[in-house]
Symmetry: C2
Subunit: 191 residues, 2 copies
């Protein structure tokens, strides 16, 4: 998506540790009008898939999911991140590793909000190694929910998480796919 690539070039900051900061429009300050355009794009990709629920994970996924959900006219369920190992019986859960924070967490969804009648679009802001996405997919599998695909704002393609999922037959659509980035701020996209 050209509009997003242009915005990343303009406002994204490549920080040490292979981090792309897009705090000025996605992760801290949310440019709502712009993120709406991304939501519309997800809808154009998945409008014929009978999506009845969007699943995401806190925190940054919530904004883009809610704005996208309006086009689908479906509710958003967001998995909560929990550090406790005491998982109750009434939730679906899966463990994931955060490379950003260097720790493990449980992604948790109450059973009452996800089940076998659901056709789920998973939305998230970033896809790198795919840890969060794997956890959400595992939760959908536990719940017996069908996953129509994943909608990602920014995929760091060179980290391989997206392609690993595509190889398993999962549809992954990323609005911007980064081929490489370097600490002098140069960002290259896949086309």
């Amino acid at each position: 998506m050209k509009l997003l690539e242009q915005r990343i070039i303009k406002d994204g900051i490549v920080a040490p540790g292979d981090v792309l900061k897009v705090n000025s429009f996605l992760n801290h300050c949310i440019d709502v009008r712009f993120i709406c355009e991304l939501g519309k794009e997800f809808y154009s990709l998945y409008s014929d898939c009978d999506v009845n629920k969007i699943l995401t994970i806190e925190t940054s996924g919530v904004a883009v999911s809610c704005l996208a959900a309006q086009f689908f006219d479906v509710p958003v369920v967001f998995a909560k991140k929990s550090k406790t190992s005491n998982i109750s019986d009434d939730v679906w859960s899966a463990t994931a590793h955060s490379y950003t924070h260097g720790n493990d967490y449980n992604a948790v969804v109450a059973k009452e909000f996800l089940g076998k009648d659901d056709r789920v679009l998973i939305i998230d802001d970033f896809l790198a190694k795919g840890e969060a996405l794997e956890a959400l997919l595992s939760i959908c599998e536990s719940a017996g929910a069908a996953v129509v695909g994943c909608g990602i704002v920014i995929e760091k393609k060179y980290q391989g998480g997206g392609d690993k999922l595509r190889q398993r037959g999962i549809r992954v659509e990323s609005l911007a796919m980064i081929k490489s980035m370097s600490e002098d701020g140069k960002i290259e996209f896949c086309h």
Copy 2:
């Protein structure tokens, strides 16, 4: 707001420890179409206040803020909750206590996203003792930003946080105000 009171009566669950759970439409599963109506209501309350930014705090405040922001056509900045006491120079921060989690945290906003030219509407899902709101107000004060008021989805009026702020001359508008609730599930509203 009648629509919200009806929804709380229908779907809210009074849980032990004076907790009102509205997970089915606000805090875990987000009924996007419904929350949009709340956003529209915030707009009708504050449309003539020249709001140019909405400030909230992660996580649940993000959804309602983004959906409300569309009517104002302004960006949303969400304060991050940080447990670390190492606060860098480039952020505004304030300490708050979470009664839900029984701990203290720092609410943190990058300086670049809040400053003296801003006219801020603070939005949050719940107001009880007002800890989170006090932290956000303190951040705005540090930043030199003008606060036009606060928009709250559900205020537990009997906990006094809202009235304490009103006594200081801060405009606080709550879409539902709870007068009392009991563990047998009975909820009474202020009118």
